[in-house]
């Protein structure tokens, strides 16, 4: 048992608790509140003058799947010759010993949503997993094996139509491949309920999508591609989450109306390619104003792995309220991915994933002192 006391606790579930305490038993939070008594057998940590936050969650990470410091040997996220491959599982390719896990963890990141990546020729890339950022065996680090099926719409997925054409070399084909996969999955499911048939990993992986138990998470930056994604998802009534969404600030009202959550970022991208030429740091603030659902991604592993608080800070500087910026890297991604029963806020019964910080982690004076995952200290300054 561990009793952390005298802290300002940002639970992300209601008011900020001044002079608060938190009791950890095993891997879970047993209790959190203002006037708790420390059990006799509990080890105590005095966090006077410190802030406590839920462990941060990166809604889109490449930790371990595109390894740091390596070339092709370390890149396992893009199976470029298969346009439709929902059955590929990110956790079959994550190397937990990539030292970026430690770097990310020491910056307060306790859960990373890691999936296959976008790239030429890949429309449906595979399953994304929720992974705790500490451990040496991936099987022990999995919080949820599949939180979404990763897709890409827009120029990134296209082959060069006029130079080296291969399917898909047009946006029309990307949409057609997605619809075709949905339709074939529906048939596979219907036949399965009727009689035995050969096992098909692709359609098995898609069944939960058609049953609305699992979302598709679609890389889409330009407005055109966002609306294409919405159209395709609506036709087959599947749950949609949008990823990156560089032009989100231009269509906040539409996103709110369509009730599509957006995983925004990375906010410091260069304006160098046609997809992101209009991106703006105000995206999160605009969506927040419009009442639309969003989270802020860190893209850890690809972007600097200690940057998720930087992303939140950039959004705050551009107009997002501080508490919203913190929620955007904790409870919002947890809710969007449906893992909020375990992580995202400091509440009794949830995993003891937390960050003790001296100062505000969204400012350069904030210093992370301790990080906990599953009740264990994984980093101590």
């Amino acid at each position: 048992m561990l009793f952390i006391k005298n802290a300002r606790i940002y639970t992300m579930a209601g008011k900020i608790i001044e002079n608060g305490s938190l009791l950890i038993e095993g891997s879970k939070i047993k209790e959190v509140g203002a006037d708790l008594k420390a059990p006799l057998q509990a080890e105590q940590i005095d966090a006077a003058g410190k802030n406590i936050y839920p462990g941060f969650i990166d809604a889109h990470s490449q930790l371990g799947i595109n390894e740091s410091g390596l070339g092709a040997e370390g890149r396992d996220g893009h199976e470029g010759v298969l346009p439709v491959a929902p059955h590929l599982r990110a956790f079959d390719a994550i190397n937990p010993l990539d030292r970026m896990f430690q770097v990310a963890n020491s910056s307060g990141l306790t859960t990373a949503i890691i999936g296959p990546t976008s790239g030429r020729g890949t429309v449906i890339a595979g399953s994304m997993s929720a992974i705790k950022t500490t451990g040496d065996c991936i099987d022990d680090m999995i919080l949820a094996e599949c939180v979404g099926i990763r897709c890409t719409m827009g120029p990134t997925a296209k082959h060069l139509a006029l130079v080296a054409p291969r399917i898909p070399s047009s946006r029309t084909t990307i949409a057609a491949l997605m619809r075709d996969t949905f339709l074939k999955t529906l048939q596979y499911k219907a036949v399965k309920e009727d009689r035995p048939q050969p096992y098909n990993m692709v359609y098995e992986a898609m069944i939960p999508v058609m049953e609305k138990k699992m979302p598709i998470v679609v890389h889409a930056n330009l407005k055109e591609d966002v609306f294409n994604a919405i159209r395709v998802a609506k036709e087959y009534d599947v749950r949609l989450i949008l990823l990156f969404v560089a032009e989100a600030h231009l269509i906040a009202k539409d996103l709110k109306k369509e009730q599509v959550p957006c995983l925004l970022g990375p906010l410091h991208a260069a304006h160098s390619n046609p997809e992101v030429r209009h991106h703006s740091k105000t995206a999160a603030a605009e969506l927040s104003k419009a009442g639309a659902s969003f989270a802020i991604i860190g893209n850890t592993g690809r972007s600097k792995s200690d940057a998720i608080t930087v992303q939140a800070a950039l959004a705050q500087a551009a107009g997002l309220a501080e508490i919203e910026a913190l929620k955007a890297i904790t409870i919002y991604p947890a809710q969007i991915y449906g893992i909020d029963k375990r992580v995202g806020s400091l509440e009794a019964g949830k995993d003891a994933d937390l960050v003790i910080c001296r100062g505000n982690p969204l400012t350069r004076d904030g210093v992370i002192e301790k990080v906990f995952v599953n009740g264990e200290i994984t980093y101590s300054n």
Partner: protein, 385 residues
């Protein structure tokens, strides 16, 4: 509410002008009369005797699909790796904010037909959209309006040159016919089990997309320049009893009576061009007048961005110079295109109940120096000189 007064109105329902006014409310035309006493809140536009006509329709483009300014990221005109791609849909690749749309509005082109190109034997569906908006789904007049197919040199260049079928015109027609036969069988098998997925043969997105064509609900829009390609298209359409629209029909004037007999409409253009391919060697602005007089319904296209959409009225003007009747030219730019694509319930003419898509022009757009004075889409002024 908008009240246009003192206009020289061409409604496109008759070959004449009428002096009068038009009242617009909630994006629609609510009254056309010699004199209208509008409600006080109506914004008044005094046309001062200027020509008031339906917004023009560019009857074939790739607008929003070939975004030439940004390279491959904006090029979605053809899936270049599969000659049989009817499952593709034009609506899935349109960027409605590309520059062509602003050019269209400034010219008085208020509706365009846009969709995949002609590299494939079957290329996907085309859609009719207004030229105003940021989200294409909000701009749709009708989706789909046609299933694109192609005859002649383009599919041969795309595939035959790479050693893949079709290498010959024989193969083009054979592959199209084979696909239509399979679509018909697929449709029948599906109907036999009431569309029950567990009992149907394996689902096929390509054949699914062709069911409305087989049923006669969705026309085939056949790209064909040369006379023999035109006749190939007519023959196949007849065999399968499907609706047909001829796209380009460059040598149509050479086989006018065959086209007239088959009652197939033609979307003519882009005629501002030197013949860059053998199959276009007979290109001429005379085609319009000849086909029109033979009783063929014609519309006009720029094939934007192949030629800029702002030259649409100029193309009609050239056709008039070469023998097309003046009013027929104005109809070709408006109601004919609407009727060909089945969108005449909403656009193409000035009639009560239709969309308020209106062009007010100093002089007839068929004059070379014409400019749009005001352009209205869905009852909203989108361009003022």
């Amino acid at each position: 509410m908008l009240l246009i007064k003192n206009g020289k109105i061409f409604t496109a329902t008759e070959n004449c002008y009428q002096e009068g006014s038009i009242l617009i409310a909630d994006g629609q035309i609510v009254e056309i009369a010699a004199k209208i006493e509008g409600p006080s809140e109506a914004q008044i536009i005094d046309a001062g005797g200027r020509l008031v006509m339906p917004g023009m329709i560019d009857a074939h483009t790739h607008m929003g699909i070939m975004e030439l300014e940004i390279g491959y990221a904006g090029y979605d005109n053809n899936e270049m790796d599969d000659p049989i791609s009817p499952e593709l849909r034009g609506i899935d690749c349109i960027n409605p904010e590309t520059r062509s749309f602003a050019d269209a509005r400034k010219t008085g082109v208020t509706t365009v037909i846009t969709g995949p190109g002609s590299q494939n034997i079957l290329g996907g569906t085309h859609v009719a959209i207004k030229t105003l908006g940021y989200r294409v789904d909000d701009m749709v007049v009708k989706n789909p309006v046609a299933m694109k197919c192609a005859f002649g040199e383009n599919p041969k260049n795309s595939y035959g040159k790479k050693g893949r079928s079709p290498v010959t015109r024989m193969a083009q027609v054979a592959m199209l016919r084979e696909t239509l036969i399979k679509a018909r069988e697929y449709m029948e098998a599906k109907e036999a089990v009431d569309g029950d997925l567990s009992k149907m043969p394996p689902v096929d997105s390509k054949l699914e997309a062709l069911i409305p064509v087989i049923k006669g609900e969705l026309p085939l829009k056949a790209h064909a320049h040369r006379a023999d390609d035109i006749l190939n298209a007519i023959r196949v359409a007849k065999e399968f009893e499907v609706k047909l629209i001829l796209n380009h029909a460059t040598a149509g004037h050479l086989v006018a009576r065959h086209i007239a007999k088959a009652q197939v409409p033609c979307v003519l253009g882009p005629t501002f061009t030197t013949p860059g391919k053998y199959e276009m060697k007979d290109v001429t602005f005379k085609t319009h007048g000849i086909l029109n007089k033979a009783g063929v319904k014609i519309a006009i296209q720029t094939d934007a961005p192949i030629s800029p959409t702002m030259h649409l009225p100029l193309m009609a003007a050239m056709a008039v110079r070469e023998g097309l009747d003046h009013f027929e030219a104005l109809k070709a730019l408006t109601i004919n295109a609407a009727e060909i694509y089945g969108i005449a319930d909403r656009v193409g003419s000035l009639e009560v109940g239709k969309d308020a898509d209106i062009l007010i022009s100093e002089i007839s757009p068929l004059q070379y120096n014409a400019q749009a004075w005001k352009v209205i889409i869905n009852g909203q002024i989108v361009h003022s000189l």
